[in-house]
């Protein structure tokens, strides 16, 4: 933590960055994002196991961007996000200084996106046992049970869009859900509107999701909506051979292989 504060201090002091995006102590036992522009305030920075929010979401926020070049505290999921954003031409080497945090909690500097890419490739995205178990349970259900499970799970959603707001990959300024000519997704949060919204969100995450869990953590009513993206990730691994975040690879959904399975096509 001292090292992180020291590095942040240096970066702000030298003027290399105008802003450090990190975590600070919040109310109660909460931690929260902090935006530091004054080197003196770097003492506020903390890092511990509670610091799981994906800070990369702020890299595309207009008011954060106007402050100037940021340095960002980046855990493994954030590093993955940065690479995915780079592959979608949302970031370059110069966009931000990366204050990497390795899975064992050490500060690690990266000077290029390639370095980050090499680093994250050491850690394959793996589902936790708990998630695997839940997904397996759902798979074991009959289609009717699965349908009931998801309708029941998604009905409480009141469409506050916290999942979208917390997701760093949802950087579109106008979301499909807000397109009204035609109205793809009903605005009210009734069952159909909710199902279509979550289905659409999952499909738009296909091959892009870095499994940071921000969407599910942001949900004020605790809908486990990242089960959808997790399952999709597993499917894509099985169907397309791998699920890897890389700068120059093309999204799995915008590429194809001539030998892709078509056993289901008549």
């Amino acid at each position: 933590m001292d090292e992180l504060r020291k590095r942040a201090h240096e970066l702000l002091q030298s003027g290399e960055v105008k802003l450090v995006i990190g975590y600070e102590q919040g109310n109660g036992n909460k931690v929260r994002p902090v935006f530091i522009t004054n080197p003196e305030d770097t003492a506020k920075l903390i890092f511990d196991s509670r610091c799981v929010q994906n800070l990369a979401v702020y890299l595309s926020k207009p008011e954060v961007k106007t402050i100037g070049k940021p340095a960002i505290v980046a855990t493994l999921p954030v590093l993955r996000t940065i690479i995915q954003l780079a592959s979608e031409n949302q970031l370059t080497d110069d966009s931000a200084v990366i204050l990497g945090i390795t899975p064992d909690g050490a500060l690690r500097n990266f000077s290029t996106l390639e370095e980050i890419e090499t680093f994250i490739n050491q850690f394959e995205i793996q589902l936790e046992e708990r998630d695997k178990k839940i997904i397996e349970q759902i798979n074991q259900m009959t289609p009717e049970e699965r349908w009931k499970f998801w309708v029941d799970t998604l009905t409480p959603c009141f469409k506050c869009y916290a999942c979208r707001a917390a997701c760093p990959m949802c950087y579109c300024t106008k979301c499909t859900v807000e397109q009204n000519q035609p109205q793809w997704i009903p605005v009210p949060s009734h069952q159909l509107g909710n199902l279509e919204w979550h289905f659409m969100r999952a499909m738009h995450m296909a091959g892009r999701c870095v499994d940071c869990g921000a969407c599910a953590r942001a949900c004020p009513i605790s809908i486990p909506l990242n089960l959808l993206t997790k399952k999709m990730m597993e499917d894509m691994k099985a169907q397309f051979g791998e699920y890897r975040i890389a700068i120059k690879k093309g999204n799995p959904m915008s590429t194809f292989k001539p030998e892709d399975s078509e056993t289901f096509i008549r």
Binding site: P143, W150, P188, H190, F199, M232, F264, I265, R266
Partner: protein
């Protein structure tokens, strides 16, 4: 009570399947009349949301069909579509959307008979499955009263 007549929406590409369906007609092959055809330039243009909308508006079954691999008028549109269908199908299945109600197929401009067979067998399948009540229950929100959440 009258017998259930499945409502089926077919999303087809202009170059192969639409021409194939046309051939079915000009060849005077008789086939089930339950299908409403929606023509697209290419299967690559068929957004999964359109399929969701079809169910939402009361379709009991869906056919999605285009050119055989390597025959795409735009070279690779159907390959891209195939990828999306794989992911789409998996997600549908995981969410309990009845994937038996969505038939994917390649029907070329010369396969008039295949189109007739495809429609007939799809209609038979859906007839057996019955109306898609699960989806219609959630989409008929007009019948529902307020949502207190």
């Amino acid at each position: 009570m009258s017998e259930f007549e499945p409502k089926i929406v077919a999303f087809v590409c202009n170059w192969c399947t639409y021409a194939g369906a046309d051939l079915t007609g000009t060849s005077r092959i008789k086939y089930a009349s339950n299908v409403r055809i929606v023509r697209f330039p290419c299967t690559g243009r068929i957004d999964y949301m359109l399929l969701m909308k079809a169910f939402g508006e009361g379709a009991d079954g869906i056919i999605v069909s285009g050119c055989h691999p390597n025959d795409c008028h735009y070279t690779s549109g159907n390959f891209h579509a195939r990828r999306r269908w794989i992911v789409f199908r998996n997600l549908c299945d995981f969410m309990g959307i009845d994937i038996r109600r969505i038939t994917f197929s390649w029907v070329s401009a010369a396969e008039g008979a295949k189109w007739a067979d495809l429609v007939n067998s799809t209609v038979a399948t859906i007839r057996e499955l019955g109306p898609y009540e699960g989806y219609q229950n959630i989409s008929n929100y007009l019948k529902k009263e307020e949502n207190h959440g």
